[in-house]
Amino acid sequence: MFKCKTSPEVGGMGHSVKRKEDARFLHGKGNYVDDVKLPGMLSMVMVRSPYAYAKIKNINKEKALKIDGVLAVITGNDLAQYNLHWMPTLLSDTQMVLPTDTVMHQSQEVCAVIATDRYTAVDGAEAVEIDYEPMQAVVDPFKALDEDAPLLRPDKEGQKDNQIYHWEQGDRDKTDQVISNADIVVKERIYLPRIHVASIETCGCVASYDKDTKKLTVYLTTQAPHAIRTVLALVAGHVGLSEEKIRVIAPDIGGGFGGKVPVHPSYVVAIAASFLIGKPVKWIEDRSENLVNGFARDYHMDCELAANKDGKIQAFKVKTLADHGYTDASANPSKYPTGMFSICTGSYDYEHAFAELDAVYTNKVPGGVAYRCSFRVTEAAHAIERMVDKLALKIGKDPAQLRMENFIKKDQFPYSSPLGWNYDSGDYHATLKKAMEMVGYDDYKLEQAKKRKEGKLMGIGICTFTEVVGAGPSKDFDILGIAMFDSADITVHPTGKAMARFGTKSQGQGHETTYAQILAEELGISYNDIEIEEGDTDTAPYGLGTYASRSTPTAGAAAAIAARKLRDKGKKIAAHLLEVSEEDIEWEVGKYFVKGAPEKSKTIQDVAFAAYTNIPPGMEPGFEATHYYDPPNLTFPNGAYICVVEVEEATGAIDVKRFVAIDDCGNIINPMIVEGQVHGGLTQGIAPAMYEGIEYDDEGNVLNGTLMDYLVPTSVESPHWETGHTITPSPHHPLGAKGVAESPTVGAPPAIANAIIDALSPLGIEHLDIPITPAKVWDAIQAHK
């Protein structure tokens, strides 16, 4: 286990210090985007399409403009005059800011109403009259590639059908050969439906352009302020918005989970409106706008897993159809159109795998962003973990035993996976063993056998996932060409207190505390004496932002290394103060001392003061350091989750009796915060497993666009989570740490699905797609009668 090097007062790594950011939130003093009020601020409301696919025949602004307080109605044609009606997506596709002639999905922004206040703007939006000519929408992605399917993107040169791209990885022929010769092959089509992050704060912005200074300030619900600033400069450079004149401020964010990574068209319209009118313009999404815009998942995966008769896995193959909506607006690194989906070979040691994916256009909202897991790891883990269970069922082997027999062994790390990842560290056997002991696996197996004899449905589900986070090394990972490093910039003041700024942006993860703890660990300055700032592009160093559990692996590492640079400078200063040579100075947390004479020492505070007051000859004054960290590899957190359920045959009701999550995220900075992240991720795991899914009808209408019908779990649905850890430090991260926040969202759904399906297996049920609701269970039971 991890041993703390610092005292609780200093609060370095391993201490569960309470969060520094709490006070303002507890007292209603958080500053979220909708709390921003600027003099003369106007309000913007979008008019949205009721149709999934339609020609726009006419937009009549007249009635709206007659309403007292309505100042402008902005259409696609208005933006077209400035060539601002289209914008690029992160993956080199194009997305409408506002349409000029065709709407491509229900609820697409059609025009914007600007008014003196929110109420008037809503009235204005109601008064805009739009003539549509509805067309037959392409809703089913499997029909998008039919010959008679309408070509949805004729605007794209050379686009002859609705396929966006084909992607593949691995050795198809060899994998096929192994599968065709295998003793056992299990197959399944697994669907992970569209879901939405539904952070409790929706998206929004306040755009404020000053016509005199030509400076644009945008308060924005964004997880990646610097990247957004660059995108804005690229999109609007031609109208005179230049990057040094753009200031993006991400204030407090009410939950992100990936939903606040994209550039929403409405942001661009608000900025354009402020640019044209010269006054601040606020746009705040309402909940329905939020739920029907953007999405995660939507992968249809045809899986095949091959093994010998003893259950030794030999090959895995998956062919996926991805519904991307009308444009590819996925938020993935440029070279990874399917994110890290090729992690789908999982935690098991075998040689052969092949994954391929076809992405198609449909008349649905674009997105393909995160739901507390950015880069398609959830899809990958679900595929392999369901298939491993199916294999266990097929050969009649205990799923825990099957996993133990197939795991990559501790001494095989670093491990090259069949699809090319270099897993850094793990001890999968120990992690699963700990979970089994904590839940009381053997006792539950006995109880299950007894219950089955009584005709009762009880299930035990396991998921042993491997995650891949911390993008990423610059040779492979970039967004719009910008390498995915991250940054820390530390200033230690003369009095020994510090301020540090980062390129990331917390949305609740507790950066103001954990980053201070990293610096406390490295410098010995109390975490209480260190202020952390993020989110303002005018002051923070450039970074790629917070998503995909990358902050600790990248910016956390940057903090440690920047602190070590300071320590090196401090050593020279200490030598000067103690009048010895630098080689004679040693460091222990918080102070420098003379080798062999520990009573001769200088604290880090002494040294900081000297850096401004008593500088060694020839040395640059000040005590500051910056580091931009380019990680050598990703980190591979992992975990073993076990879920116990009971299912009532008559009603399909599902009762989650226990859920144990053992995570291995390497060394832990703040155990309290890590545990909190795991709790939250688990609830965002049970959510898609049992409750959430965006439902469409045949016309492409969203059927559950409010929180009345999009079923975010409450405290009653959310089980009492039980958590624990194994610690296998990352060998390449300066602190031995890995990311953690998205792990539970990756690991929980397969554990829950496996448990429910295990409960139903005596009835002959071998698979159900999530969300597994009582209604779905009941229907499946009837179908197997």
Partner: protein
């Protein structure tokens, strides 16, 4: 989400309310707790010209036994029902229901009268009213009248209330020894409208014959539904397991659900079957 413009009027007395209603016409709507009407207005499904606030009218919030009746003032909030010791002791069906209606903060505002008068088959109180054979006292510009629950619900959001009338009191038979009642609903998550719900009230005589029975179903038909065929089956008999099974079967046959996000029609019929049986058993348990 913001409602379209309307004019707000506060009524301090019933008389005030009727006068306002008469002068403002049919596009004016009464509002009590507001938790059914205001959401519809915010979504602009309802656009009344005027709102007459009746929530501040004195004397319409009470729970008391009188004239062999339990009388509940229509402005009694769900939370007042939940916390009443009289309800807890003798009318547990209301406690069963209130825990399942929306959530605690909504129940602080929502009234029992509003839950009924909104005429929504998805609301929970209507099926309780059917099981308990409630009488509704309604008052309008032309005076008071009584409407039996069986004459009250007409269709989708439609009741036999005139636009100017207000439901003022709910009356149900006073508790008698040997009576029992229970309500439960299946919901997708806590606070949801019912996938299906069943309310059962019954009275047994000394030799356990069923003297009186009422069964109401929630959200499995266009209007709140009485399960008459099962009532007829059970009335006057000792309620055996076989009869309960038969009643459940009738529930699944007679309910009229449609497939939607809450599940398939077949699933809802099955759930209604199970709930009906469970609630007959629960009511029997409380009656004995």
């Amino acid at each position: 989400m913001i409602p379209s413009n309307f004019n707000y009027h506060k009524a301090n007395t019933l008389k005030d309310a009727f006068a306002l209603s008469s002068s403002l016409g049919e596009e004016a709507k009464y509002m009590s707790g507001g938790h059914s009407l205001l959401p519809m207005m915010k979504l602009r499904f309802a656009t009344p010209t005027d709102i007459i606030d009746i929530s501040k009218i004195e004397g319409l919030s009470y729970i008391r036994e009188e004239d062999n009746l339990l009388k509940i003032g229509a402005l009694t909030t769900q939370v007042e029902m939940e916390r009443s010791s009289l309800i807890e002791e003798k009318y547990p069906i209301f406690k069963d229901a209130s825990k399942l209606i929306a959530d605690p903060a909504v129940r602080n505002c929502g009234t029992i009268g509003g839950n009924i008068a909104h005429g929504d088959a998805a609301n929970d109180q209507p099926s309780l009213m059917i099981a308990l054979r409630a009488n509704f006292v309604v008052e309008g510009p032309n005076g008071k009248r009584n409407i039996s629950v069986d004459d009250f619900f007409h269709g989708f959001y439609m009741t036999s209330l005139d636009p100017s009338e207000i439901l003022v009191e709910i009356q149900i038979p006073q508790y008698v020894d040997g009576s029992g009642s229970a309500y439960h609903k299946v919901e997708r998550k806590v606070g949801d409208y019912a996938t299906s719900g069943a309310a059962v009230y019954l009275e047994l005589d000394g030799s356990e014959y069923c003297k009186q029975i009422g069964i109401g179903l929630t959200n499995v038909s266009a209007t709140p539904m009485r399960l008459s065929r099962a009532e007829d089956l059970l009335k006057g008999k000792v309620i055996s397991n076989e009869l309960i099974q038969e009643a459940g079967k009738i529930a699944s046959e007679d309910c009229e659900p449609s497939s939607d996000l809450r599940g398939s029609e077949a699933y809802k019929r099955s759930v209604t079957n199970t709930l009906t049986k469970d609630m007959i058993n629960a009511a029997l348990g409380r009656a004995k």
